[in-house]
Assembly symmetry: C2
Homo-oligomer: 204 residues x 2
DNA sequence: CCGATCTCAAACAGCCGTGTTCGAGTTATG
DNA sequence: CATAACTCGAACACGGCTGTTTGAGATCGG
């Protein structure tokens, strides 16, 4: 039989190595979703064979990292309060969610690339649902616009989070400014459009 | 020596094949940015060797397709009128630009993946500049918000165009609805935020 | 301190993609 | 129609990645 991949290793150093591998894999996949098993092993300070001793397959490793990351993400999001004024709740949720995207974007990209779609959906939908729930409530209360599909609003939010993360990674935006820009943009984009007879300049 | 890759082929059928290859490559790369040379050759109804006779390298082929696509994109965008009321001009530019993204997103992804970054920047910046120019003018005229970096507004616009294209490709949005949603969202997101003492319900 | 557990380098097999060579066959074109 | 231009399938070399085997050695843990 192969060494225990599902059963936790018996010896302390083995368990330590598994942890090191997961750490290294997460870090490597964040830098490059196509990172090689060899690269990950080296980053973990471990032989390639040892890695295969703990994770039979590259896919299995990615899956483990994905599991780990979603757990961390859940922790970061669980604390967010989505009650009260929808617009304020949106700002809170977006701020928290953006941090998650900022950190784990690349890992999710790797997961989406080589894990069965259903696997990713399951974990992802949970986060999405928190947003759509807030969206639905806010629309019912008249705090958010209802002239566009809910689906599109959710897409807008997530897309802009990814964009902010990307800009941040490229050094064109600092994390603080990104948070500000995100909430300002989404607040404006989600507010109900003023009726035709609004005050102010109207053009011709 | 190698067959004429830079010099156009002398014979009619050869020129026809080059065209077929470019067509097939464009189509294949749109479906999958990692499409194989073999797949492209087959789609073009041509032997792999023949393809290599006209394009010494996969990179060279991608470059040619990229060249072609940017030319088409330029044509589609050149006609857009960006004068007049900034908000209306934005709507026009976004609608036109979105069509481009909708069609060629995947090819650009392929190009970004395996062409020297400078190559892509050059052609891309031209389109970007049209938007930023409009942005600058609109901000100066008070039609667009100035409380966020211009860079961020541009990113927002392009990101949402890509998102709309993606939603469209996934069948969750029809092209018409996408255009509407895009302009509605960007119009709201780019408008100057109302000063603190605005009318309407304010909560608590 | 001894044995079970774990590590590891080297080397191998298999797959897949790129790019090249060869030799024979086809087709345009003057 | 004859020749230069072009096409094509098969086969090869090359490199990279995955996953496996082997056998010797290090290390934990009772």
């Amino acid at each position: 039989m192969s060494p225990p991949a599902t059963t936790p290793p018996r010896r302390a150093d083995a368990r330590r190595n598994v942890a090191a591998i997961l750490d290294a894999a997460q870090e490597c996949l964040i830098r490059d979703p196509e990172a090689t098993v060899a690269q990950i092993a080296q980053a973990a300070g471990v032989g390639r064979v040892t890695l295969y001793g703990h994770f039979a397959t590259r896919t299995e490793l990615v899956d483990a990292v994905f599991e780990r990351v979603t757990a961390q993400a859940d922790t970061m999001l669980a604390a967010t309060d989505v009650s009260g004024d929808p617009m304020a709740a949106l700002a809170r949720l977006v701020t928290a969610n953006w941090q998650v995207v900022h950190r784990f974007r690349a890992v999710l990209a790797a997961a989406e690339r080589e894990l069965p779609p259903a696997r990713v959906r399951g974990h992802n939908d949970r986060h999405l649902r928190r947003l759509t729930a807030l969206l639905a409530r806010g629309r019912a209360e008249g705090a958010f616009r209802t002239d566009l599909p809910e689906q599109w609003l959710a897409t807008t939010a997530y897309t802009l989070m990814h964009a902010a993360a990307h800009e941040c990674a490229a050094g064109r935006l600092d994390p603080v400014g990104a948070g500000v820009a995100l909430t300002a943009t989404l607040t404006a984009a989600f507010a109900p459009p003023p009726p035709p007879g609004a005050p102010g300049g109207h053009g011709t």
